[in-house]
Amino acid sequence: MLVFLLAHAIGNDYLFYAGYIVVQYIVLATAWNILGGYCGYVNFGSAAFFALGAYTSVFFHKTYPLPIPALLVIAAGVSGLVGLGTGYLTLRLRGAFFAIATLALAVVLQTLVVNWNYVGGSRGAYVIRPSDIEILGVKLDYIQYLFLIIILLAAIAVTIARAIERSKLGYGFATIRDDELAAEASGVPTLKLKLIATTLSGALMGMAGAPFPYYIGYLEPASAFGLPYAVNSIAMPLIGGTTSWVGPLIGSILLGTLQQVATVTISSAVNLLLVGVLLVAFVIIAPNGLVGLMQPHLRRMGWTWRRPSSKSKASASASAASSPSTEST
């Protein structure tokens, strides 16, 4: 909400656009982390799930225009099912196969979309959005409406991640990450848990994609399946820290903002290079990300992330202050 009001108050169109992209990355990074950070399975196909959601919107826009909330649900269903399918085929094998299969998924889907003329093929598709919408008697600019939706999505994603972390499911995920064989041996239904994580993660990524075509107005395969989505949704959690919901949040806000600034001030190619270098540097030097780096200092000051009673403290702590999730949780 804060971001929204801030962007609205300043009234700068670019800032508004940049804000949307950053919030969108919060959803993607958090979704990635549910599978990657909690279970330890790498998904290189974030772009595929995201584009799947986006193209679901395009498809319905052409056939029978539906309101955005309905599109969100459908996109979540489609992406979740694809996630489940991919997971079902490959999660019984070693982790590396799943990672490779997700890479494969992105290319297969992109080829399908390129060859499917109904949704625009390789030329792309224009999506004309209504100029405004009325909710509860308040007339809103459509762009602002979309902005509110993505913020809501980010809040939902972070809330889910946070809830998982403290639940039985989360502990199950952690056993998979730490030692899958031992977990399996002690009766943890690892395959079922992994499938839940993949489906959930895929569904959230699809939801992030659904409003995007309306927001951007024009969607083409090369940008919808763009490598930046895949790289960022991996880099953001790994740079922020993968073990808790705070990591992806910090990572996406910092890295997302940094990229928006770098795109404007330097160039878009350099900003991608920046992400790559940061990703490699962080996995080598700081395997636990920014959260891992900060943890000793925070503990000394009396903060802890994981203590269940410290909800207010956790949300009051420095870096989460500007995020939308703090208001919602």
């Binding site: 998924l105 399908l112 490598l227 991996i234 880099a235 290079l273 790559g276 490699v280 395997p287």
Partner: protein, 291 residues
């Protein structure tokens, strides 16, 4: 649709030639992923670097790309050894290769791509050699030399590597690393050193594979991504760590891709490899020649 015999035959031959080249691209992955269990998804990135080196030297001095590739072997070997050392110290030693090691290679792939874009732009680059635009016709079959030369050279490279792995002491040690590291250590051999050598060899193949690539088609920085799916599909299809399997897998993929391109149009070709990969993973994850 009417399908003539010579169209079919030409598609088949084109597929076999393409497959021979794919074998050269994949053989490095067969060593690093198949034998050493290192999921080096940055491999195609190294190949593209090899292509650009061949391009620069060819443009400057007019040297044949394949000679450039051979001269580049030691440099790529050193690069591979260095990469493995970083990988080992940062991930393998700490037991973090599953998540962060993968992210590391993904980052490397991404960095090479972006750096190449920054330096050379997104224009397609190609090389000039006397045989690039020549075609020999045998009966009904057309043999474009830009496919034949890389295919033959790649078979030579594959044979040399197979001999190295099965007939030399070092090669056998590399195969042994895949089976039992502890046993190797008990015999006073250092598995880390052997793995470093093997990984360096796998990267060294990129120098040549890159040279082949730029002979076959014009290269731009982001085509490496198309090859990720291909190399892993071939590697898994053929059976992990088996070089004869790699060759068979590569030929199969080459033929399937060539037929798809001939009968359905080239825009479907990229999906073929991935479809094949998903199918293999679902039906027979051990691959054709798998253990």
């Amino acid at each position: 649709m009417y399908v003539s015999a010579d169209l079919l035959l030409n598609a088949l031959v084109a597929g076999l030639l393409l497959g021979g080249f794919y074998a050269a691209v994949t053989v490095g992955i067969s060593v690093s992923f198949g034998i050493l269990d290192i999921v080096n998804i940055a491999h195609p990135g190294f190949i593209i670097v090899g292509s650009y080196i061949a391009y620069i030297v060819n443009a400057q001095f007019g040297l044949d790309p394949i000679i450039v590739g051979i001269l580049g072997l030691p440099a790529f070997y050193a690069l591979g050894a260095l990469t493995y050392q970083v990988y080992y110290l940062s991930f393998e030693k700490r037991g973090q290769e599953a998540l962060r090691g993968l992210a590391f290679f993904f980052g490397l792939l991404f960095i090479t791509e972006v750096v190449l874009i920054l330096v050379f732009g997104v224009d397609y680059r190609y090389v000039n050699t006397p045989y690039v635009d020549k075609t020999v016709t045998v009966g009904l079959v057309q043999l474009p030399m830009r496919m034949v030369v890389p295919c033959v050279m790649s078979l030579v490279m594959l044979a040399a590597l197979q001999l190295f792995l099965t007939r030399t002491f070092l090669g056998r040690a590399i195969m042994a690393v895949a089976q039992d590291q502890l046993a190797l250590r008990l015999m006073a051999a250092n598995p880390i050193k052997i793995k470093r050598i093997a990984f360096a060899v796998s990267i060294a193949t990129c120098a040549l594979a890159g040279a082949f690539l730029i002979i076959i088609q014009p290269v731009e920085p982001s085509i490496g991504r198309e090859y990720i799916g291909r190399v892993f599909a071939i590697c898994v299809l053929g059976g992990l760590g088996s070089l004869p399997g790699t060759l068979i897998g590569a030929m199969l993929l080459g033929i399937v891709e060539s037929f798809t391109a001939t009968f359905y149009g080239p825009s479907w070709a990229p999906a073929v490899a991935f479809g094949l990969l998903l199918l293999t993973l679902a039906v027979r994850p051990a691959g054709l020649m798998g253990r």
